[in-house]
Amino acid sequence: MDFSIKNLWVINVGGVDVWITETIINTWIVMLFLIVFAVIVRTKLKKFSDVPAGFQNVIEMIVEAFDGFVRSCAGEKLMFLGNWFFMVFLFILTSNLSGLLGFRPPTADWTVTFTFAIVTFALIQVMGFKFRKGGYIKGFFEPYAIFFPLNVIGELARPISLSFRLFGNILGGMILMTLIYALAPFYLRFVLPAALHAYFDLIAAILQTYIFCVLSLTFIGAMAGTND
């Protein structure tokens, strides 16, 4: 039983040790998969037609569904965020599902989830300032000026809770699966893990990806004042 992130090798770049960990390798594998997938989709859709048919229909349906999701969570004015969040959605979903193939999911490393949460945090502040200007600044001093430190702490707590939610769920599922494989008696190793994989690696993975995107978009929309 070993839940820690294995360090595969260390590269020395100008006196600084760069650790190439299991997370980085698995992230590259997920990225490679997504890039190959994107290239295949692009070559299949060589000629776009105005009247979609067959494969193009499926792709347009997926993109339209995600656009509607962004519209309902963040509002009409923030539709351009759909591109970024579709990428985040696909990356986190593929990472979470890679646990099914026996990889250590990259999202079971806090650095990966915290990176996405930091980007969400930056988007919240930038979009809040862009769409509400003075109202955004004033929002920190509400209801009274003395509440300013509390509001700042509340803002800083957002990326932490957002990243820990995804990280804790995936890590908890991974630890439980490892424990089951290590401790279950021989005759239980054929049926029980399948049912648990279906919950921890499939349902929880899809649900947590969805929740990460919904919460990010809702926070951004609420700060920018564009969702109703």
Binding site: F3, R165, Y210
Partner: protein, 93 residues
């Protein structure tokens, strides 16, 4: 001589991890309340099912946060215990 305090640290960390995981009880009660109320409101107004389900998922994710923090405290106590390093640093020369 060094083994006895070390064993006490390990035992206390494991008991602490078990206590930290007990907050799952209260988290589960809270999430159960959220689902119960959502089912009630869907039964009363079936046409608002979509938005109620959306709000329910967001609320459940919020309520889950405290449970996740407990899990993280337990994991830190079990696998990355800072107290052992402190003990090593101060008492084993």
């Amino acid at each position: 001589m060094q083994e006895i305090p070390f064993a006490i640290i390990i035992a206390a960390a494991q008991i602490g991890a078990a206590i930290a995981l007990l907050n799952g009880l209260i988290t589960a009660i809270g999430q159960g309340n959220i689902v119960a109320k959502s089912v009630e409101s869907i039964a009363r107004q079936p046409e608002a099912r979509g938005s109620i389900m959306n709000t329910m998922f967001i609320g459940m994710a919020m309520a889950e946060t405290s449970g996740i923090y407990g899990l993280l405290v337990a994991i830190i106590l079990l696998f990355a215990n800072p107290l052992i390093a402190l003990y090593m640093q101060h008492f084993i020369k």
